[in-house]
């Protein structure tokens, strides 16, 4: 081993097994652009328990990918974390140096990116990319060879493909080899950014089932970002709906699906045509998300909200707790439904 993780961090993270895996508090990210500051993520807080599956849904530009990158400390200029903390097993990642972060990445915390075609190096064999990641953590060639075969079997790909280049694999296999790479060590946290969005429904479902099986077997926690709310409905424990950089609603997946409280969540759920039941005319959500360089004064969803009242536009809306759900809406925040 090179410089030990424990020496660098002053603590060995693998031995910490109590408490939440991740505590995010009031995290804010701003893009410093020529045209002014764009607040892409604003005051986001959540906890992630050991082995928990958190789904984050929202549309393009809602800040979900920026949030993931902020959690994984992967933001680069012009993005900047302007406030808040990301505590991974008690260690604030925002205060670590690159060298300290490198000891955690892949080992304790891994990432699966949206497009495996771009995230994998096209001119390197899959096996070589695995060994890059493991060599960085000081594993021996024997360990690397053995573990590479193991993780490929784990995701159901013939280890012969360690010798394949990414373009020789199908989209589903590429995505699964990315997941295999995330399993090289035994991470406590795997962050996934739309890993299934390039796949068709059949391959998508098979990948989701596989992710869930691995999670049950290995016990890691997952943050899973997607724009397709229905995709995570059967897999995530909790669901966070993001709108315009803020948490719109956060609660157990079942509750959010059964009784969505934020008008945006309600709109999203109604935006999917169903394959069963009666065919009903749908409307979607007219309008588009606000420009985050100059967000609305009050509720950020107010300009598109079918339930908007004058009071919504006056001042920023807090998150309200209703039973076990957090919701950013003054009309449902008192626990009532819409009375109109």
């Amino acid at each position: 081993m090179r410089t030990g993780q424990a020496e660098l961090l002053g603590v060995d993270l693998a031995h910490i097994t109590t408490g939440p895996v991740l505590e995010v508090r009031d995290l804010s990210v701003i893009y410093r652009t020529k045209a002014g500051d764009v607040g892409a993520v604003k005051d986001v807080s959540f906890d992630l328990a050991k082995g928990e599956f958190l789904g984050i849904v929202g549309e393009s530009g809602c800040g979900k990918t920026t949030l993931l990158f902020a959690v994984a400390q992967l933001l680069s200029h012009p993005a900047e974390i302007t406030g808040g903390s990301v505590r991974y097993k008690g260690v604030d990642l925002t205060e670590l140096s690159e060298a300290q972060l490198a000891t955690i990445r892949w080992k304790n915390l891994s990432l699966v990116m949206q497009s495996a075609m771009n995230a994998l190096n096209p001119v390197k064999r899959i096996g070589a990319q695995f060994s890059d990641a493991m060599r960085a953590h000081g594993s021996t060639p024997n360990e690397i060879a053995e573990r590479s075969v193991e993780v490929m079997r784990m995701v159901g790909i013939d280890p012969i493909h360690l010798k394949s280049y990414p373009h020789q694999l199908s989209g589903g296999m590429r995505q699964r080899s990315m997941i295999a790479m995330a399993m090289l060590y035994t991470p406590d946290l795997v962050i996934m950014d739309e890993p299934t969005s390039a796949l068709d429904v059949v391959a998508q479902r098979s990948l989701m089932v596989q992710i869930k099986e691995l999670q049950e077997r290995l016990g890691f926690a997952i943050i899973f970002v997607t724009h397709d709310m229905s995709l995570v409905s059967h897999y995530s424990d909790r669901l966070m709906v993001m709108y315009a950089g803020e948490v719109a609603e956060l609660g157990t997946t079942r509750t959010v699906f059964d009784t969505p409280r934020h008008p945006y969540s309600i709109g999203l759920l109604d935006a999917f045509p169903s394959i069963h039941g009666d065919k009903v005319p749908l409307t979607g959500i007219p309008g588009s998300p606000p420009n985050l360089a100059s967000p609305p004064d009050g509720c950020r969803f107010a300009p598109r909200c079918p339930r908007v009242i004058e009071r919504c536009k006056a001042a920023p809306i807090d998150l309200f707790r209703v039973e076990d759900v957090l919701v950013r809406c003054i009309r449902t925040g008192n626990g009532d439904g819409f009375d109109d």
Partner: protein, 334 residues
């Protein structure tokens, strides 16, 4: 579908691509023996997974590719007989295409009016400049880009993804088309605005009388807008018929798989043991036999030797499946 001849019909449409060279020369069967019909005022959804050949069919119909074999008939006339530039131009105006990527399909350095007015000039040369501007505003209003006069003067970067895709439909509409080929027109848009575009397609059918070939991998949206559904697998048609009919009682095992895989928050969670984990089919130098047989739990001997034909089943729609054709009771694979 109307009486008499359909608006567009294909017969044994086939497109192969040569890949590799020398000793490695192989043939990729992108589309094999596809016969389909699109009626007047009809939205037909063409669904299938990536690589199933659905986009190749669209490009064949748009005459981007020439068919390897087979024929396309438009209003009864075979397209292979189109020879003059004038006929070619008329067909392209009758059957325009709307593309998947609204960020790549509009030239970013010109105002949106630029391409619009140019295509009007090309396809409707009898119009004066003022008439062209008027017509552009009219179609912009129809597709919901209001006020048309103002939106026409914007640059593409000033429009959202949904608005750009509406520009695509407006451009198609300006040619007074009979059939719009829409290749995954909503798949790159956010869910909250997809429905608006789907509703626009229905409106164009009902109010403008155009037919639409809606190419998609999203079978739920196909159900929402389409009259008929054609499911493709590995370059061939697996099943086709009225959309409600096909989805209520899918007879081809692949259609059953596709329907069962659609994420549905209201359904019971799936049993992980029962799901298909198959890989996409190989369509390079395929051997005779059903191309789904490797993944099919119902496959019988004949499936390995004979390619099933698309034949009508008792319940009013067609499927290319030996098992479905030989049993009167619908067999359930997934």
């Amino acid at each position: 579908m109307t009486d008499g001849q359909p608006l567009l019909r294909t017969e044994g449409l086939t497109r192969h691509f040569k890949i590799g060279g020398g000793i490695n020369r192989k043939t990729l069967h992108a589309v094999d023996d596809v016969s389909l019909e699109i009626g007047e005022r009809e939205i037909v959804a063409l669904a299938g997974e990536s690589g199933s050949g659905k986009s190749t069919v669209a490009r064949l119909l748009a005459r981007v590719y020439k068919p390897t074999a087979g024929e396309i008939y438009f209003s009864g006339k075979p397209l292979s007989k189109l020879s003059s530039r004038r006929d070619e131009l008329a067909y392209r105006g009758d059957v325009p295409m709307v593309f998947q990527d609204p960020f790549g399909s509009i030239n970013p350095v010109f105002r949106v009016s630029h391409a619009m007015l140019r295509s009007l000039k090309l396809h409707r040369p009898d119009m004066s400049k003022e008439q062209r501007v008027e017509e552009a505003q009219r179609v912009f209003d129809i597709v919901g880009l209001t006020p048309g006069a103002e939106v026409l003067n914007r640059y593409p970067h000033e429009l959202s993804g949904g608005q750009r895709q509406r520009v695509g439909f407006a451009q198609a509409l300006a040619m007074r088309p009979r059939l719009i080929l829409a290749d995954e027109p909503v798949s790159m848009l956010d869910v909250s605005i997809r429905i608006g575009l789907l509703n626009l397609m229905t409106k164009l059918r009902d109010e403008q009388g155009v037919s639409i070939l809606y190419i998609t991998h999203d079978i739920a949206s196909a159900r929402y807008v389409a009259d008929r559904l054609i499911v493709m697998y590995a370059g061939q048609i697996a099943e086709s018929g009225p959309v409600e009919d096909v989805l209520a009682s899918p007879r081809h095992p692949y259609t059953q798989l596709l329907v069962s895989a659609v994420p549905d928050p209201k359904a019971e969670p799936v049993n992980p043991e029962s799901i298909d984990r198959g890989e996409p089919p190989k369509v390079i130098d395929p051997t005779p036999g059903c191309r789904f047989r490797w993944r099919c739990p119902l496959a019988i001997d004949i499936c390995h030797t004979q390619t099933p034909q698309l034949l009508p089943l008792a319940d009013s729609h067609d499927a290319a499946c030996h098992v479905a054709q030989s049993s009167s009771v619908p067999a359930k694979a997934f």
